[in-house]
């Protein structure tokens, strides 16, 4: 799927607020959002700050999406568990999957191994985006967010959105 199609799909699904910390895997998505006004992108200094900003936006009536590399997952376990899951604040998390199948720079390998498990362990539903299913994966995440009023994660490997 192309970057433009992916961003249009998010827009069509009603997302109208984005924040996060970048990853090279979705660098074009963030560049695109930053230069188009449909989904304003707020660059956060850390992933937990991004989750706080997105929570405020949600409380203010927006439908937010948060971008982060899976390395940032360690920084959001506390807000996910003691804010978003606790208060039932649905936010779409788009998380890049560095260290997938043990092939990456050394700093990504340990987190790469446990990324989906960590999310599931704290109760956040996870979809893995593949070449064939980007739209279906996002729709499944949205369904879970809306039905259960909780954050949902869609995990993105390299080379799928271009």
């Amino acid at each position: 799927m192309t970057t433009v199609d992916f961003c249009s799909m998010l827009n069509a699904q009603g997302f109208n607020f984005a924040t996060g910390v970048p990853c090279s895997i979705f660098k074009d998505i963030i560049l695109y959002l930053s230069s188009h006004s449909d989904i304003p992108y707020i660059p956060a200094t850390r992933e937990d700050e991004a989750l706080g900003i997105a929570t405020g936006a949600y409380l203010g009536g927006k439908k937010p999406v948060v971008f982060m590399q899976n390395s940032g997952l360690g920084s959001v376990i506390n807000p996910l568990s003691s804010l978003n899951m606790l208060y039932r604040i649905p936010i779409l998390l788009l998380i890049s999957w560095r260290g997938y199948r043990g092939k990456d720079a050394p700093e990504h390998l340990i987190m790469g191994k446990v990324t989906t498990k960590l999310l599931k362990d704290i109760g956040v539903p996870v979809q893995v985006i593949t070449k064939d299913n980007p739209e279906a994966a996002i729709l499944a995440s949205i369904r879970q967010m809306e039905e259960r009023q909780i954050p949902a994660a869609a995990v993105l490997k390299a080379g799928i959105i271009q």
Partner: protein
């Protein structure tokens, strides 16, 4: 001045339509005890994120006025937030730090805020108005003004300790969210 008194002065000085985000621990408990209204978003966990939640609200609801109440321990956890707030500079945000130089809710352990000029940090980060106040009179005066020229940062020097028989937020997290949202966007 006690933190409890400072929160009381702040609440009495507001117009009554502001949305208030209060940080984890004693600050939320004291606010709850002083004035429990649906416009208060009491944080129970996620320490450090009060100003970030405030920023998200301020950007999403430009016609509303947003007040963040947090402690020195909390802002020191998330000073990056001051950079983001200064950059986007929402005029409708007032960020108040109740600075007792301690983690009071966990037993009064020292923070490092006694050597940090948080007002200067906020000014350097791009807040349009910054004040450090020590008396109730100064606090009363400064709370009236900021909304015309925010984002504003107010550091209030307070004593350690709370009052006797301080309440605990009785609402469930979902109730806090639901009634807050009803008062912000009517759903």
């Amino acid at each position: 001045m006690k933190r409890f008194e400072a929160i009381k002065v702040i609440i009495q000085s507001l117009s009554g339509s502001e949305l208030v985000v209060s940080s984890t621990g004693m600050i939320s408990r004291e606010l709850f005890t002083i004035s429990d209204v649906p416009r208060n978003f009491y944080m129970l966990g996620s320490m450090g994120l009060a100003s970030s939640i405030g920023l998200g609200l301020a950007l999403s609801l430009p016609e509303k006025q947003i007040v963040v109440l947090e402690g020195d321990g909390s802002i020191l956890m998330n000073m990056g937030s001051m950079a983001t707030i200064g950059h986007f500079a929402p005029p409708n945000l007032v960020h108040i730090v109740l600075d007792n130089e301690a983690h009071d809710s966990t037993g009064g352990q020292a923070t490092v805020s006694n050597t940090v000029n948080l007002g200067e940090v906020a000014h350097a980060a791009g807040y349009r108005l910054t004040r450090v106040v020590e008396s109730k009179e100064e606090l009363r005066k400064v709370i009236i003004k900021p909304f015309q020229q925010g984002p504003a940062f107010v550091s209030v020097k307070v004593e350690k300790g709370s009052i006797e028989r301080i309440g605990r937020v009785v609402h469930s997290p979902q109730e806090i969210k639901n009634r807050f949202q009803k008062s912000t966007i009517g759903i």
